[in-house]
Subunit: 385 residues, 2 copies
């Protein structure tokens, strides 16, 4: 019987998929991709691990904790390997960081014109506390010494592979990886527990402020390099283009790989199409806001009258512990006065980050063929009871 299971496993790359929380709404099953309901998302500053969005590019690999080994190679390091116990011997470092999929909110962009990509709502984002060894400590233990100008990129390979045994891969700029305040960690815990299978068990690299796609799960190899990862996902995906570029004219070499994401926000309550009761003639609106690169959210404005009056939201949760960098999202709440007898309103939200960057009003002029970086104002239509 064991033998037949083993044959079955070889035949079905999806044999090792974990059980998932029933509240997760899949946008794809194989590979598994799913997001939580918005109302659960906004309920807690720290997203529970089993409700954290799942964005898998390939089947979940079966990794044996005991035989797990992380390989380090490349420029300025000697080939080294670290098992999980080795990694746990480094000083343990925790960082609360939001991770967002580049395709979050793609379902709104699609209304302009179809795009290629999973049809994410607004919940392909989550905020967790990640703990593990600092990348820089592990590189130093591999013989890496200080900044070498040749070192430009740190590449990561996952243990997840496609049918041709090519692993998932990505890279980040060396200046992010080596920044003492960059907080890049090789995490073996998510919210105080071993990282769940869907989130990269046993080790995921956490790159705060950088698009989810570079936060490689099931981390198997680190390569110190002069060049970016040559993986499909670094070279020919996860890049932004002009709205006029289509699949006939696109040249992926012309756009930089997405790293830091732009400022974004979304309304999590009420939901699109909901019928809501006013509280003291006010509409209660809640949501999240976040910006890449560690930029803090400094203001969220909400309107229910098409921008004639904007209301500054209160921040219900904002972590100030990592100055100057704010890796975590901001949760906010606004109470909008609504004129009596109004039966329908459209609510808009927009955020401003610490560089005074703002969101664009609409998706029309940021549309791109891969449907990434969708950060236009979020607009929600509700009926008033």
């Amino acid at each position: 019987e064991e033998a037949s299971v083993s044959i079955a496993d070889m035949e079905d790359p999806y044999a090792f998929e974990p059980r998932r929380h029933p509240a997760l709404k899949p946008s794809n099953l194989k590979p598994f991709n799913a997001e939580p309901p918005m109302t659960l998302l906004v309920d807690s500053f720290i997203t529970p691990s089993d409700l954290f969005y799942v964005r898998n590019h390939l089947p979940v690999p079966e990794v044996d904790e005991k035989s797990y080994s992380l390989e380090v190679s490349g420029l300025c390091v000697k080939n080294s390997s670290f098992n999980l116990e080795d990694l746990k011997k480094f000083p343990k470092y925790s960082v609360t960081a939001t991770i967002q999929c580049a395709g979050n909110r793609r379902s709104e962009m699609v209304n302009v014109k179809p795009v290629k990509g999973l049809n994410w709502g607004q919940a392909a984002i989550g905020n967790a506390t990640w703990s593990g060894a600092r990348l820089i400590d592990v590189l130093k233990a591999s013989g890496f010494k200080d900044n070498n100008l040749k070192v430009q990129h740190i590449q990561f390979e996952g243990l997840d592979t496609d049918s041709a045994h090519v692993p998932y891969g990505a890279s980040i700029p060396a200046e992010k990886a080596l920044d003492p305040r960059g907080d890049v960690i090789l995490a073996y815990e998510m919210n105080g527990q071993p990282i769940p299978k869907d989130h990269g068990f046993p080790v995921r690299v956490i790159v705060p402020g950088i698009v989810g796609a570079r936060n490689v799960k099931w981390l198997g190899r680190i390569v110190v390099s002069e060049v970016e990862s040559d993986s499909h996902w670094q070279q020919n995906d996860y890049k932004g283009f002009s709205p006029s570029v289509d699949w006939d004219t696109v040249d992926f070499s012309k756009a930089p790989a997405i790293q830091e994401l732009p400022v974004v926000s979304a309304i999590c309550e009420p939901l699109e199409g909901a019928t809501v009761k006013l509280e003291n003639n006010k509409l209660v609106v809640r949501g999240y806001a976040w910006s890449g690169g560690g930029r803090r959210i400094i203001r969220v404005d909400v309107t229910a009258d098409g921008g004639k009056t904007w209301h500054v939201a209160d921040f219900t949760d904002q972590n100030d512990s990592k100055v100057p960098y704010h890796w975590a999202w901001t949760l906010w709440k606004a109470e909008i006065p609504v004129t009596q007898n109004v039966k329908k309103v459209e609510i808009w939200a927009k955020a401003v980050d610490s560089s005074y960057n703002v969101q664009p009003e609409r998706f029309e002029n940021i549309w791109n063929l891969r449907g990434v970086c969708g950060n236009a104002y979020h607009r929600v239509n509700v009926n008033i009871k």
Copy 2:
């Protein structure tokens, strides 16, 4: 006669104003504020010093190069002073950096609703090569040792004062000032020559990627501190607010002082209202783009049909020498096909920076009572010959 000049000087704080280039268009005379014509601006990657926009908050002070002294005081330093010769003994460091006034493009925002501030066009921005001593070297020579967590801000005072003898002042966050790659310098040269009087003779602090207002001219004092500058310009000016905040409701303590500026671009040619000749049925459009915080411009899109088709501009000038930070602006050119018999077009330009931040479409929803951070799409109406 010398005595009478001296009395006149005491009576007229504007007695020391320098001669200015006749092409500069003043938005105010006392204090002097002026910008160059757009067509001259876009003509060179390095803005000639005499055409660089002038934003003075107070009268230009008369500073004697021989008796000039820069005072350093505050936390973790011993009170020190440096004359110009002392500063020139430090390693000389050059950086090509764009400086932009927070109020650049205010004249466009005013079309939504009046604001308080000088009526700048799109040329309150310029790009120059600045040379001088590194701030960090001067702090170290004053006894400053490494990062002390108490040190949060570096304050600067100008030698320019108001009628009550209060100097111009500003501050920047310590993490910017102390970042070895932050390139903050105490410049005594602009484009290879002593800094002109209007630009801060003999010493201006250059803070690349940060709003002009913190690049203090006629630098007289540096204070290492736990707190921001208490000057009017740091505390009660140069901050952004929600469009619904007016002068009755504004609370300046609620917004952070502007430091990094958001992504911006402008069309410099053709000018608003111009009549232009097509070249091979194409409209030639030129302009600049820039983003704060050292974020590189990765794309500029131009449309002449209201966004139905966007054309990706070519970069005619982009300095790649400072990776990862790009302090200098990008000059660009686009050639837009125009349908025959079209007599009028509106051209829009928008830029994207390396964090994939974009510009907002219109000024309506970024309007703020001080008219700062005006980075909506630039729109220019032209007639086709």
